[in-house]
């Protein structure tokens, strides 16, 4: 048991091959990793080799990302996305990840009928259920109908399925300026994933700005300008009893051209800051050789 055990990095924050990413994370003290489908299928040895690398690393999968633009479609588009979802679920199960991250739809072909969206997510949850996978539905701040966690929560409640919950991403919460006191309305046991990151701008008012910042210039918690909100976010989550994982969803073009240990060390400092200074997690009990 280490102080930063509840925190993990995302593979998307690092450049290079999967093996090197996992090694850098492990050397920095992390025991879990948020996996991206791209890292698995893009492995030079192929899918099976990538799965073997993940399993051999001994790191636990925080979750598997990401299924996009799934909900609200009809006819052939819906059928197509169900096929994609099934493949994602099979990959998710192969890497022994218990959580599949699903981002709210940005498609203009998707309906904004929240009950129809809920029915689609319930179907996805049913597909995930025999595989032992939970579906974390996350509001992208540029999502077409669902762009705040409060709406994502509304849909999860409508769908009412035990393995369907929400995923929260601090970037999207801050970008869409959702009131943090709305966290009190959530059921902590139905928050299946919390992704943390910060960014350098005070505001990201347009969808375009949110997209560009989200994809190129996020930073680790404590490195950006929303530390106070980030502290409030995690403290509010802890206050309602959230006991799940925190993963650092940091897309950053600069980090993509730095040595992996340098980036992983920044992540470790961030996790240390959250565990010690923000959450005051108790120090693990030291173990002595017998």
């Amino acid at each position: 048991m280490r102080l930063i055990d509840g925190f993990g990095m995302d593979t998307i924050s690092l450049a290079g091959p999967l093996e090197a990413k996992l090694e850098a994370m492990r050397n920095a003290g992390f025991t879990q990793v948020m996996l991206s489908a791209r890292d698995i299928v893009g492995h030079p040895g192929g899918f099976d080799a990538a799965v073997a690398v993940v399993r051999a690393s001994g790191m636990r999968a925080t979750g598997f990302q990401v299924l996009r633009d799934f909900e609200g479609l009809s006819g052939h588009l819906h059928n197509y996305k169900v096929d994609i979802a099934k493949s994602m679920l099979q990959m998710c199960a192969a890497v022994n990840s218990k959580v599949l991250l699903v981002c709210s739809s940005t498609s203009r072909h998707a309906t904004n009928d929240l009950d129809a969206i809920a029915a689609d997510l319930r179907k996805l949850a049913m597909l995930a259920l025999p595989l032992g996978i939970k579906v974390a539905y996350e509001a992208l701040s540029w999502g077409r109908s669902v762009n705040e966690f409060t709406t994502a929560w509304d849909i999860v409640c409508r769908a009412d399925c035990p393995n369907l919950g929400i995923g929260m991403d601090s970037f999207h919460v801050f970008a869409s300026k959702t009131e943090l006191n709305a966290i009190e309305e959530l059921d902590a046991t139905k928050i299946f994933l919390v992704q943390l990151s910060d960014f350098m701008w005070q505001e990201a008012p347009t969808f375009e700005e949110r997209m560009t910042t989200a994809r190129t210039f996020r930073v680790f918690p404590s490195e950006g300008v929303h530390s106070n909100e980030l502290i409030e976010l995690v403290l509010r989550l802890e206050a309602i009893g959230y006991a799940g994982d925190y993963s650092f969803e940091v897309f950053n073009d600069d980090y993509q051209q730095l040595p992996l240990p340098v980036v992983a060390e920044r992540a470790r400092k961030s996790a240390q800051w959250l565990a010690e200074d923000v959450l005051h997690r108790p120090l693990p009990i030291p173990t002595f050789p017998a």
Binding site: K86, R122, K123, L124, A125, M126, L127, L129, P130, G132, C161, P162, N163
Partner: protein, 293 residues
């Protein structure tokens, strides 16, 4: 169009959405069909028919149909269970198999591709827990599905009397830790099963969560692992068959004479409410449950 859509919605919310009418058959997959067949015969089943193109045998007892599937592709699943037989499928009787199958797919079930050969029945199926399958059969009233895919075994009377009025009572499914809510949602959503209050219990193993089929003809028991034991996710499976009998004592006595042994410990032993057979072949056991005749 509106009227049609509304009708479909209304049907989906009916108490028995698939118009289920009980269990048509339960299937074991195994690479040791003779050994399992001997266990079934001691349990009162008789082999009555063989599949025309596959190594599959139908056993029967009263209204209970039990299939041993030793077809190499299907029996492979038992290899992962250390060679022990596994309950690989349950077939439900429904009013309209295609409609039941389509409804389940619409709600998020995984389809099972059919491997029917020429002139054989294509029985639609979805994936169940742990690699098992759920079939939907609608031809059980006017004629039997076995008369098409199976050949009767000569000299065997296909009408096998049940031991002391036995019939299928239900299925016991082992599930992962904290998975009760998930699996209850699965059976409620897809099949319209209903949870039975925790106070209402049958037999001598009153563990886990109990659900009743939408037709009310059988029960489904979901059992989480003992928290003190290690559990691997892959161990989620259909574990054993429950057989209902109006006279547990008489059934136990008959089966004992036929060579079936029962669990007889201080805590668990045959009594009026039920009994549990000793596990054979590493995985096969039956639970007797008292039912009102």
């Amino acid at each position: 169009m509106t009227l049609l859509a509304d009708t479909r919605e209304a049907e989906a919310r009916r108490p028995n959405p698939l118009a289920m009418e009980g269990i048509e058959f339960i299937e074991y997959a195994t690479s040791k069909p003779q050994a399992l067949g001997q266990v079934l015969e001691r349990m009162g089943f008789r082999p009555v028919a063989r599949h025309r193109s596959r190594e599959v045998t139908l056993y029967s007892q009263g209204g209970m149909n039990l299939i041993i599937n030793a077809h190499p592709d299907d029996a492979r699943v038992s290899a992962t269970a250390g060679g022990s037989p596994v309950i690989s499928a349950v077939a439900f009787r429904v009013r309209d198999a295609l409609k039941a199958h389509t409804t389940c797919l619409r709600l998020g079930a995984w389809d099972v591709p059919s491997h029917a050969q020429a002139m054989e029945l294509h029985i639609p199926a979805i994936h169940g827990p742990g690699g098992s399958r759920f079939y939907f059969v609608d031809r059980w009233e006017e004629f039997s599905i076995y008369s098409i895919d199976f050949m009767p075994i000569p000299t065997i009377n296909p009408s096998v009397p049940p031991v002391a009025g036995s019939s299928y009572f239900g299925v016991v499914q082992y599930i992962g830790p904290s998975r009760s809510a998930d699996w209850m949602a699965y059976y409620e959503n897809l099949f319209g099963f209903m949870q039975i209050p925790d106070e209402e219990r049958y037999g001598i193993l009153p563990k886990g969560k109990l659900m009743k089929s939408a037709c009310g003809q059988f029960l489904w028991q979901l059992i989480e692992p003992d928290p003190t034991m290690d559990f691997m996710e892959s161990q989620e499976k259909l574990q054993r068959i429950g057989i209902g009998t109006p006279d547990v004592g008489a059934t136990v006595a008959t089966l004992k004479r036929q060579g079936i042994e029962f669990v007889e410990s201080e805590k668990l032993h045959p009594e009026d409410r039920g009994a549990l057979t000793r596990t054979e072949l590493g995985s096969v056991s039956f639970e007797l449950v008292h039912i009102v005749a």
